[in-house]
Symmetry: C2
Subunit: 510 residues, 2 copies
């Protein structure tokens, strides 16, 4: 029964058919779990959790068992000795990688990690509430230790942080990521200094005031309409922590509304549109295999950041969108596009919180987390030193020093989930967004005029052609090379921010 | 790997633990599929269907493989030779039954049936639209033939219709069901005749007029509030065909709104509340096994009918609820509770459509379908004869003759799904509802006064104690016997309708 249990019809068809059938089942189980998680965040009644947790745990173990079954390994071995079409080989490459990682880690360790992480969450939350790092430290130590163990199972000879990073970004090597982040630190620290010393006074109060939630929701739908969101394959709902999820047939967006933060709901909606729009650009015929799945975190984030920043924070966007916004909020009548543009791009000089950061300082928040988690995992830094090092780095890079751990090293949820190696993908996403946007403008001419007209098909067409339609066909470096003609580089992002903020803040040397 | 694939940890714990672990996984997969189906009916975007169909098909084959795995059979054999606790034995009994049925039918036949049914649906729909039974006849023949084959695999020596009936109602034998339906026919035909000859003129226009959908939704929430629905474990949405689904942690209700049919949305909401309220009464600790699952279709329908008819169509309910309804719809100001009661209980003398039938004629619609499908499956009736026989029976039992097959034998979706043996459970549900309500009043005194006060805890407490909390612990006849002291009987339903309608229509002999 083993075969039948793990992959139905595995006895029929040739090896690739059997393999693809098995891959589709794994994908369908994963997509079903995605719907259950969306439901949990968006519509599930409060007391549904105990049953939902069991349903998700069963689906995840079934998916693990399908992937790590002997039959999967046998089919992979057989197919790797077979002459396959290019796309078939890509599917085999992606599943082989997952198979090798999941089979190399003992199930007991996986379960201990997930149990430790579940318990870590409330501990972290309380420690943050009580501003008491000591409460969280032992749990953090345990998570670091388990993650090092986990990395050693996957590759005992490799840098454990590189192994963990590869869980989120499998095909961009850590050296490249480090080079990019290092470059951001070198260039952004002086740029931010210059901005903080600048006398330019930006109009920052364009969106001051209170804005009704229902009108904000109507405006969020206007945003999605105007960007070309396909409502026949998606929907908009609210969630405490906005996210988007789904497949090319059903890619849903969530956002949040704060009566005092209209700008935040607009930028968050545009950001999530970027994610969903990538998913909707994946080929229908690829559904169920990696050919119909998005590339990894950095590429996904490049799509949300491209729309949020290069489109949504641009002058022409506000020239186009402000009249739309005025329809919902007549109080914006006297706001000029320039004022909206400046409000959407102000750089805070005293920001300690990553999720409240602007487009520029954001990356120093990331660099700090990256340097700390890398040293923790490599054993070069002790958990007890984290608060001190954190605060020193904030002072050095951003010129601000947290007075509490709550607004310092306890602010993010990621480490409490055992997510070490995740943070860099945020900055890599922004860097790639700038590189892709430059390449797109290089191909199709500048988009400003079109954006001013509320016309986004040309830009989106380029993204569909060069990124979305390829799914996981190409590994990330090849995808980037084919789309931009270059390997991943911070140059375009730095040019973009230096010219944008040099102009906004009237900086002489930029 | 077989064991690990079919039931993780199947190597740990004693046989019952291994077995229960496997049962919980099957249940979790089924409940996950339930959420996917709710999502599809209620919130899924239009074009999500292709992916959803694949996700559901994968979950259903995984569930089938877990159930029919060799390990399941071995554990069942071992446990049946073990001295088990009463509740454990009940779980083994329920899974054994499912295991025997699913292992006895070849997977090819299951797949042919499901493929034929999927294709039958559009064929039936078009035939109905074009009022052309001939178009549907060949498909119906094929479905009948496949279902006879299916029944023969399960028990070659049994009456095939009895085998199919047991798919929906496993523990009530067909003889009992036939005896009940026969009794309904004998007694209801003359009662309905008498009503049709009665001169009593009921106030039937209490709910005439147009009623805004949003206000109807607010009122539907009032209905659920007043019946005691637990919003922390449920929600209300709209769906074209109202249903309820979920678990004891999350039991959701859907309803529909028609501006010209306020009464319909109220009664449909009360009906679905009855289903969800049963689910919410299942024991939390039983989640994932049959001990935490509802008994079969007739018992489930008894819960919806009890609330819809014995509560929602009663005089005291309208004395309680009309003032609530007036808050939403001031136009109801001049409607009296008596007029609302009469409108909610009028018997139509020219009704051809089951889903539009009243509480009384409804059962003759069922009897007709039951007699026809039984004879089809037994081979005593040819598909080509169905329209003629259908129309003759309508004339004989209800005194009306359909002029078209669209409003005749093509009106219901069930046969196009291959659902033969399902219809009787609707009437058995009403019959059981009356029997349970009588037993509850016998134990707790009449509920009229409480219902008039909008107080339903006493009635619901009795249902929790005697029905809901037992899940599938007892087989249906034992559950009924323990709750009512008798076996299933039509007596209480007939007493109820004869006194209710005898009074409403001023019938001398009733």
């Amino acid at each position: 029964m083993a075969t039948d249990q793990a992959g139905s019809d595995a006895s029929e068809g040739d090896a690739y058919e059997q393999f693809e059938n098995r891959v589709r089942r794994i994908s369908n189980v994963g997509n079903a779990a995605g719907i259950l998680r969306w439901d949990q965040e968006v519509v599930m009644p409060d007391e549904g959790t105990p049953a939902r947790a069991q349903q998700l745990s069963t689906l995840s173990s079934l998916s693990h068992e399908l992937l790590t079954a002997d039959e999967t390994g046998q089919l992979l071995d057989e197919l790797e000795d077979t002459d396959l079409e290019d796309e078939q080989a890509a599917v085999v490459r992606e599943i082989r990688r997952q198979y090798d990682r999941e089979t190399s880690v003992p199930q007991e360790l996986v379960e201990e990690l997930s149990a430790t992480a579940s318990n870590a969450h409330p501990t972290w939350k309380q420690a943050r509430e009580e501003d008491d790092f000591e409460q969280f430290a032992p749990t953090l130590e345990k998570l670091v230790e388990l993650k090092r163990e986990y990395a050693a199972h996957i590759d005992p000879d490799a840098d454990p942080y590189a192994v963990l990073f590869a869980d989120y970004e499998p095909y961009i090597d850590l050296e490249t990521a480090e080079r990019v982040l290092e470059r951001l630190r070198e260039k952004l620290v002086p740029l931010i200094d210059a901005i903080q010393e600048s006398d330019a006074d930006l109009a920052t109060d364009a969106f001051a005031g209170e804005f009704d939630d229902d009108d904000q929701e109507a405006l969020a739908r206007d945003v999605l309409d105007s960007l070309g969101y396909d409502w026949d394959r998606g929907r908009l709902d609210t969630a405490p922590h906005p996210f988007s999820s789904g497949t090319q047939f059903d890619a849903r967006v969530t956002t949040r509304f704060d009566e005092e933060d209209l700008l935040g709901s607009i930028t968050s909606t545009v950001h999530e549109f970027g994610h969903a729009n990538y998913t909707l650009g994946l080929p229908d015929e690829g559904y169920g295999t990696p050919l119909g799945e998005a590339r990894d975190l950095s590429v996904h984030e490049s799509q949300s950041r491209l729309w949020e920043n290069h489109v949504g924070r641009s002058r022409p966007f506000w020239e186009h969108f402000l009249p739309v916004a005025r329809e919902r909020f007549p109080s914006l009548e006297d706001v000029t596009p320039e004022a909206a543009y400046e409000a959407a791009n102000q750089v805070y000089d005293d920001n300690l919180i990553r999720v409240e950061a602007d487009e520029l300082t954001y990356h120093l928040h990331i660099v700090i987390r990256f340097e700390i988690e890398r040293d923790l995992i490599r054993g070069d830094l002790d958990v007890s030193e984290v608060p001190q090092v954190w605060n020193d780095k904030y002072e050095e890079y951003l010129g601000v020093r947290p007075e509490t751990d709550a607004e310092g090293c306890l602010q993010d949820i990621h480490w409490s989930h055992g997510d070490f190696g995740y943070f860099p993908t945020y900055s890599l996403g922004s860097v790639l967004a700038a590189q892709l946007y430059a390449a797109a403008e290089d191909d199709r001419g500048p988009f400003d005029e079109e954006i001013r007209e509320g016309e986004f098909d040309d830009l989106n067409g380029w993204l569909r052609e060069h990124i979305h339609q390829h799914g996981k066909h190409f590994v990330t470096p090849e995808l980037i090379e084919r789309a931009t003609g270059e390997e991943l580089t911070a140059d375009y992002f730095l040019e973009y921010v230096e010219s944008k903020y040099g102009d906004l803040y009237e900086l002489e040397d930029y």
